[in-house]
Symmetry: C2
Subunit: 314 residues, 2 copies
């Protein structure tokens, strides 16, 4: 194993980059803007230049670099071929690994961004020391990454780990962004929690501080639940039950050691972790009931950690 590795997290507005020692230390992290003009033709040259400059700055020879791992917001096939990139539609379908590697002269591997975050949390975050992991990001949507024996599952169509699209309600009356109905994402995301809250407020006359907000956010619901607001608690219980059901189902597939909750919603902390764990135990196959749970700990750096971990191929 060479001494250094780069992790890159390609977002819609900024590209996050990290220079790591392969033993697991983040030496430097920085950002560059995501230039989307002309179908994103400057994106890979920008990343290549930024990495080359960083090597000069730290006086590191290319031969001391194991490689670059890059997480992208889209489906990735065979660790290099990007099928379609969310927010970068014009980017088309092409071999990101080959192109970026040609620009920078260092091996490159590519992974879906949620999968990168899963690898990062396994390497140095909430699942450190484990190699069989379910990672779920709870944000505006619900994403995830499934790790088996230290490798992230990618699947035949780049759709492994799309756990936000597990169907949990067949009688749903609204559609998910994917076009189908009843996806987990519609109930366990920040958006889903707020939807549940408004539904309960409409159907209930119970007193609750939830009514005092002009524009509710998921974090308000969790804050009030922590204060003991009974309606807020009911909202969170609905979400725990949905997410616990889905995670118990995933456990019947891969039976992991640990389930890690990340994304903006996971800032709710222990109340969320314990609520989801409790629902999980209710629905889990008995042998898997005692599966570990933890909170993600790398925040927005999970992607760059995961990129670096990806290229290490250990």
């Amino acid at each position: 194993m060479r001494e250094y590795a780069f992790g890159v997290d390609l977002g819609g507005t900024t590209v996050k980059l990290g220079l790591f020692k392969t033993e697991g230390i983040l030496i430097d992290k920085w950002e560059i803007p995501t230039r989307t003009e002309n179908n994103g033709e400057q994106l890979l040259p920008d990343i290549a230049l930024s990495i080359t400059n960083k090597l000069s700055e730290f006086n590191i020879d290319k031969n001391c670099v194991e490689g670059i791992g890059i997480g992208v917001p889209g489906a990735v096939l065979n660790g290099k071929y990007v099928k379609r990139c969310v927010n970068l539609n014009g980017w088309g379908d092409f071999d990101v690994s080959e192109k970026l590697s040609a620009f920078v002269g260092i091996p490159v591997e590519v992974v879906n961004d949620a999968n990168a975050a899963a690898l990062g949390e396994m390497w140095q975050g909430g699942a450190k020391g484990y190699s069989n992991v379910i990672f779920v990001t709870l944000g505006t949507g619900v994403g995830g990454g499934i790790i088996v024996d230290g490798k992230v599952l990618t699947g035949q169509h780049g759709a492994a780990g799309e756990i936000g699209h597990i169907k949990i309600k067949r009688d749903a009356d609204f559609s998910c962004g994917c076009g189908k109905k009843g996806c987990l994402e519609g109930y366990a995301s920040a958006t889903g929690i707020v939807r549940y809250a408004y539904e309960l407020l409409k159907d209930s006359q119970e007193p609750t501080k939830l009514r005092e907000f002009d524009k509710l956010e998921a974090k308000d619901v969790f804050n009030l639940a922590k204060e003991g607001d009974q309606v807020a608690r009911k909202v969170t219980e609905l979400m725990y039950d949905d997410l616990g059901t889905a995670l118990a189902g995933i456990s019947c597939v891969t039976d992991p050691e640990i389930i890690v909750l990340g994304g903006g919603v996971s800032k709710a902390g222990t109340i969320l972790l314990e609520g989801v764990r409790h629902a999980f135990e209710k629905y889990a196959f008995p042998a898997s009931e005692q599966t570990q749970f933890s909170l993600a700990s790398l925040g927005n750096d999970a992607g760059i950690y995961g990129g670096a971990r990806l290229i290490m191929n250990i």
Copy 2:
């Protein structure tokens, strides 16, 4: 790779054994009784003797044998340690690999029996030529095996592939054998299909030949559905919808190339395959909608094929 391998399928009443050429040809198959007396202490010696005799019969030297793969009805850890064996309770928890290997002088690996069937179908059956597979057995219960890159997932507690225990109804009013409620097994098994049929007969006055049976079986329901009996069709549609939902959920986890339906219920054939595929497409993440479907083709030999495939470790 050596020239020969044995596959063993340890059932509650008989042990099935197969001698294979590792290129994929079944040379001979036979059965011995499962002697369960004295906590099954004769089971492994019986298997060892039977294999030794077969080697003599075919004049094969032990050094030409790659090994023995054995499927057992229980949770298996690390490819050798059996945690608890269904129908062989007294057997206890022990290292089946080490013990059988010591008796017979050939390397042994152990796998759960449903997982063995999955490997067999991947090697020479309904998923031949594929390496990312969901295998589901629809019998008295519902079992399965999840294969990623040619390896069957076993999980942290030996519970990977327990897809019969994915929860598909949180409002279920009866319990599964596992102690929980709402498991797929309660709806998509032969037992579940019959339960659905009696429920519909109770609630409906529609004319149907289903009423003519003293003791309905799942195959009667499929036979009548094929003849166009509308109530029987409704029963099968309920089962397709449940199974399709669960399989679409599993696809959001591992995103396989192919889904194989096996077990006694799969003898219903094309009507089942097309019904489940149609429901799957309704609930699948769009990128995975076109996942292949096939029927298992090895029948009761799937387990011995899978045992032999397991020991080949390719």
